[in-house]
């Protein structure tokens, strides 16, 4: 019904590949094949050239089901908005059900749809290796995040311009491990690094009043443990030395 011929498995951007995976589509078993979780689309092929693919924007949710009372095998459950068309295997758009007004667009037939409102397709990917369910799930999460809803973004690319790449600012010193950008940096801070960060941020927050301290003068609380090479040369110790420095103060 939904199987296509002459489709090739994706070759690029495949985050996860799972062989020996059976597919059940709306309750109908399609056989055993290989699941490809690629960045562009999710696809499955039975090895003889037949298969189908799903576009991530059409996927409503996916989940790991280990509840054997609901379905006898542990599997990856995927809910697709709309029904898979016979012609090209892509999911048909839901149409009116996408809008706020959720009056049913498929007649609300309990016979046709699993849900009263909006047609959906339920797909179960049943790998023979149940341990693979978590990497399959994670790979799908990552790929799904690459396809945000295009209609929804009203603040896209609306940068305030305050952020910039630390490594670029250092002009090509990207390999110096001392400097990290943002998230990497925070996660690699040691306890002493974190204390240094807090000390520096505190100093910078009171920049005008404490410029004297920023010139490298140790305060009473300074702890020799925190010497990590970040202090300024002793020779530069002068109050107000940085008054004309070309840096931003709040």
């Amino acid at each position: 019904m939904v199987l296509l011929k002459n489709l090739r498995p994706p070759t690029e951007g495949v985050r996860h590949e799972q062989a020996e995976t059976s597919v059940v589509l709306d309750g109908q078993k399609l056989g055993c094949g290989t699941l490809y979780v690629a960045e562009t689309r999710l696809s499955w092929f039975d090895g003889s050239g037949m298969g189908f693919s799903l576009e991530y924007p059409t996927i409503g949710l996916h989940a790991i089901s280990r509840d054997v009372s609901a379905y006898p095998q542990e599997h990856l459950y995927v809910m697709v908005n709309g029904k898979l068309a016979g012609e090209n295997g892509a999911a048909m758009p839901e149409g009116a059900a996408d809008e706020e007004d959720n009056s049913s667009n498929s007649g609300g037939d309990d016979d046709d749809d699993d849900d009263d409102l909006g047609a959906i397709t339920e797909i179960r990917f049943v790998p023979s290796d149940k341990v693979a369910l978590e990497p399959m799930f994670s790979a799908m999460c990552e790929c799904q995040a690459l396809h945000p809803d295009p209609e929804d973004d009203d603040s896209d690319n609306d940068f305030e311009g305050e952020e910039y790449d630390v490594e670029e600012a250092e002009h090509g010193h990207a390999d110096i491990p001392t400097f990290y950008t943002c998230d990497e940096g925070l996660s690699t801070l040691t306890q002493e690094g974190q204390a240094t960060l807090e000390r520096l941020e505190g100093m910078l927050a009171h920049s005008v009043a404490q410029q004297y301290h920023m010139a490298g003068v140790r305060t009473e609380e300074a702890n020799p443990e925190f010497e990590d090479g970040m202090e300024v040369d002793a020779a530069a110790m002068e109050a107000g030395q940085f008054e004309d420095a070309d840096v931003e103060h709040w």
Binding site: A70, A97, A169
Partner: protein, 138 residues
């Protein structure tokens, strides 16, 4: 290295992404109510989907596009049939409501999430702009 417009996968091995993966996500989150949802990490809550189904579970992560990841989920479909799911990822577009637990202080949660964003952002600008601290490398 952060680049505009692309989402890089989380670098840490932990599945929970507490810090955003890109400048774009930070900016989007900072300018919308999704910061509130991001502050619900660890809370058990109910998500109502647009197709009349609901999912109740612990919030693992919510990204800037309102994709919600839950664990230990009780999923109820449009007909009321219940299913238990270990891990569930709901595409942001399919979310209608996210229930905020009664004990959650909404303003406080939003403030602390915004503070996290600013801390990450300021770490980069201070580290790069303050060349006088860049004299020594480890």
């Amino acid at each position: 290295m952060e680049s505009e417009g692309t989402e890089s996968p989380s670098r840490s091995p932990a599945p929970v992404a507490e810090v955003f993966n890109s400048i774009r996500e930070r900016t989007i989150a900072e300018n919308s109510m999704v910061v509130l949802l991001q502050g619900l990490q660890g809370e058990v809550t109910t998500v109502d989907l647009r197709n009349e189904s609901t999912a109740r579970g612990r919030v693992v992560n919510v990204d800037a596009f309102m994709n919600v990841r839950l664990e230990d989920v009780l999923y109820r479909d449009g007909r009321g049939k219940l299913t238990k799911l270990q891990d569930l990822f709901i595409t942001g577009r399919n979310v209608r409501y996210v229930h905020i637990p009664d004990h959650v202080d909404i303003l406080k949660t939003m403030h602390s999430q915004l503070a996290k964003i600013h801390r990450v952002r300021n770490f980069a600008s201070h580290g790069g702009g303050r060349k006088e601290y860049a004299k020594k490398t480890k």
